[in-house]
């Protein structure tokens, strides 16, 4: 009988060949024989196979030690290994498993392809989706190297976790985990792709063309074509680029992908090569993969992601340019699902007769039309030279009209904010109104010292009522200051109206209102009623924001500081 050691060596060698599919007839017969006749061999056989499976476990691999990139091993180690092969003691003759006896040969296998019922196949593929996630995760083992595969291109207020320490712009980045705690950053991969990161985000750089996104969102842009497909893996999906710009967002439940340009393939499972389902996404299409591997098309707002152009705005904002600070704030505002309308008063060439709504959820359907009633208000310089404002002249009828839309028929909680400016002789008045005669969804005004009604002079008005006129909804007295930009805001939770000036809460009044929804135009610079000429707005309006929720003081302060000229 063989000694244990001899038996183990022979078995381990035969099993290795068999596991790898490289065993020949003679070797397999020998293995079969050993296992059949020797109980010790069967016990050892199972343990050896446990070793095979165990060595594929990443926890075990962590104990291999960091040996560097393939091809860059310490020459002394290589030499030692080669030397070891030369001086290794010869196996005893009776062990059989010498390479000269059992030749390694490539065995051509006859694969039997079972006939499948198509329905069962489809069902099986669907059912497999979740399981594949588990199966493939074992196989995908990113190569490890300490060589840089990317560098930090740009950063805006970026704060990284302590694991990597401080990372400066231009620093080389080797593979490994990264965690951006605050701010935004751009990474340039060595294959030419740029990746915009928005905090908080956790990811692993795997290769120069592959990233594992654990949580957060990023935008990948591949301008220079490369033979390598860029791949973003996530815990339960893979996004494979086909030459494009795309965003990927991961949370605990889904992976979302949106294509801005070009095409990507969204695959279930985190192994780009083994997947149970896939969906091609073209420009402006989005898709979602859930933890079970199910893939569906989905509308994903482009504002979800910070793109290259947005990143540039952030950079300029960081450079203390107020206009870009204001633009950078929009990334946050436009992700607010309660944002009903956002009129930025930016003049668009070729669309001078339109007041554009920048709120992504409502978009162009809530654009306003200039000159609906009479003349167009005049485009003038706004808070900064990069943007415009509209000058309303009370002596002319210059109201802007946004056609009635259910998105603006807000009867519940609401916040309205506006930037206004007055010259010496200007008199403020109705800023905006959404009403149908005596049914008023909301009406925001600021009346000046010359208002006909003494009780309303120098007060901000937030009027909401249904049928029954009210005298509630007025702030304490606030005198407009000429030649200054004023940030006015009002909120109403159907019980209390709060008035803000330049981000500060100046007063609140009780005003219980129960509204019914109605279809009414939104009018800017006046009210949708004839007459009331002395109530029209007289001055500059630069921005209007409407949300169907109540913003708190700190949110309105943030909006003020973001937009302060």
């Amino acid at each position: 009988m063989k000694t244990d050691e001899t038996l183990h060596s022979e078995l381990a060698y035969l099993i290795l060949l068999a596991v790898e599919g490289k065993i020949n007839d003679e070797g397999f017969a020998r293995l079969n024989d050993l296992l059949k006749t020797d109980p010790r061999a069967r016990g050892f056989y199972a343990t050896i196979l446990d070793v095979h499976l165990g060595l594929e476990d990443v926890e075990v691999q962590a104990h291999f030690g960091r040996t560097g990139q393939a091809g860059s091993y310490n020459p002394a180690v290589l030499e030692a290994l080669a030397e070891y092969e030369k001086i290794a003691p010869a196996e005893p003759r009776d062990t059989v498993c010498q390479s000269e006896i059992i030749k390694i040969e490539k065995v051509k296998r006859e694969r039997i392809i079972p006939k499948l019922n198509k329905v069962s196949l489809v069902t099986a593929i669907g059912s497999l989706a979740a399981m594949i996630v588990l199966l493939v995760s074992v196989h995908l083992l990113p190569p490890k190297t300490t060589e840089p595969i990317a560098y930090l291109g740009q950063a805006v207020h970026a704060k990284w976790d302590s694991e990597r320490g401080r990372i400066a712009v231009g620093d080389n980045l080797p593979p490994g985990p990264m965690h951006l705690l605050e701010g935004a950053a751009e990474i340039v991969m060595h294959n030419g792709a740029t990746v915009i990161l928005e905090a908080p985000i956790q990811f692993d750089l795997e290769t120069s063309s592959r990233i594992f996104l654990r949580q957060g969102r990023m935008v990948v842009s591949i301008k220079n074509s490369s033979d390598d497909r860029f791949v973003v893996r996530t815990p339960f999906s893979t996004v494979v680029d086909f030459g494009t710009e795309f965003g990927v967002q991961v949370n605990s439940e889904t992976t979302q992908a949106r294509v801005f340009e070009g095409q990507v393939e969204l695959r279930s499972g985190s192994d780009p090569l083994k997947y149970s389902g896939a969906l091609k996404l073209d420009s402006n299409q989005g898709g979602i993969v859930n933890t079970q591997g199910a893939i569906v098309m989905a509308d994903i707002a482009q504002e979800t992601f910070l793109r290259q152009k947005d990143f540039e705005i952030l950079e300029q904002a960081a450079g203390s340019q107020p206009f870009y600070r204001w633009k950078a704030y929009h990334f946050q505002l436009h992700r607010d699902p309660a944002l009903a309308a956002h009129y930025t008063f930016e003049k668009r060439p070729g669309a001078e007769n339109r007041l554009m709504n920048a709120a992504p959820q409502t978009g162009a359907v809530l654009d306003g039309a200039l000159g609906t009633y009479g003349e167009q208000p005049e485009w003038v310089r706004g808070r900064w030279e990069q943007k415009a404002a509209l000058r309303f002249d009370r002596s002319r009828d210059q109201r802007i009209v946004v056609a009635a839309n259910e998105k603006l028929a807000i009867s519940g909680p609401i916040t309205i904010a506006a930037w206004v400016y007055l010259h010496d002789t200007d008199q403020p008045g109705h800023i905006l109104s959404c009403r149908d005669k005596n049914q008023i969804h909301y009406q925001m005004s600021w009346f000046g010292a010359e208002h006909p009604d003494i009780a309303r002079r120098n007060r901000i008005q937030m009027l909401r009522y249904y049928q029954e006129p009210t005298v509630r909804g007025y702030s304490r007295e606030i005198r407009p200051v000429p030649h200054q930009w004023h940030f006015l805001a009002v909120s109403h939770d159907n019980h209390t109206v709060r008035f803000y000036l330049n981000g500060d809460l100046i007063c609140e009044v009780q005003d219980e209102v129960r509204m019914e929804s109605l279809a009414a135009d939104l009018v800017i610079g006046g009210v949708p009623l004839s007459g009331y000429t002395q109530w029209r707005f007289d001055g500059l309006i630069d921005e209007i924001v409407i949300l169907n929720r109540v913003m708190n003081t700190s949110e309105l302060q943030r909006m003020y500081w973001a937009g302060k000229p």
Partner: protein, 187 residues
């Protein structure tokens, strides 16, 4: 709010899948190992595992809560192994039925004695005890996924020499595991 029939079906499906995954995840490696014991070829074992998991999911309605999920899974796995052998009867490298039975007993005996996690823990200890050159070899093969041909090129030695060296390392690891289990009185 009342749910429509297809919504109820969807909810049930999600719940069932969640239950299934909850039972499968901790035991999937055990099922995988069992299949590998019976067929020894890794590629075959992977194929059979996938078929087994699909079958388990399709028959999950028949699984009774509270009964031994692993035993139920292994029964299906064994059936799939036999089906595979029958389908590919021209393929030479199958153990004969008598040996299959012996191996199945050995696999079930081992599963009853210690868990996969215990084996992984012990394997980690054993790997730590290896010499650097052995760890280099394992790293190239299992972490960096190099082929044997690739490793042989790296080291400038023949492919059979790599098989021999890796086989010896496996044997050392298996002996180390066996010894550790014996010392713990669970072998």
């Amino acid at each position: 709010m009342c749910k429509k029939g297809n919504e109820v079906d969807k909810d049930l499906h999600s719940l069932q899948l969640k239950n299934f995954m909850g039972l499968l995840v901790p035991h999937q490696r055990q099922i995988h190992a069992f299949i590998l014991y019976l067929v020894v070829n890794r590629a075959d074992a992977d194929d059979i595992l996938q078929e087994t998991l699909v079958e388990m999911w399709n028959k999950f309605n028949e699984y009774k809560d509270g009964t031994n999920f692993v035993a139920w899974g292994l029964t299906i796995a064994k059936f799939k192994v036999l089906q595979f052998i029958q389908k590919s009867k021209n393929y030479r490298f199958h153990f004969d039925p008598q040996l299959l039975e012996l191996l199945e007993h050995e696999a079930i005996r081992k599963n009853g004695v210690h868990t996969h996690n215990e084996r992984v823990e012990i394997l980690k200890e054993c790997v730590s005890k290896l010499q650097t050159k052995e760890k280099v070899m394992l790293d190239l093969r299992y972490e960096k996924n190099l082929t044997f041909e690739g490793i042989s090129r790296q080291f400038g030695v023949s492919v059979p020499a790599i098989y021999k060296a890796l086989g010896r390392t496996h044997a050392r690891l298996a002996q180390c595991i066996k010894l550790t289990l014996e010392q713990r009185g669970v072998a």
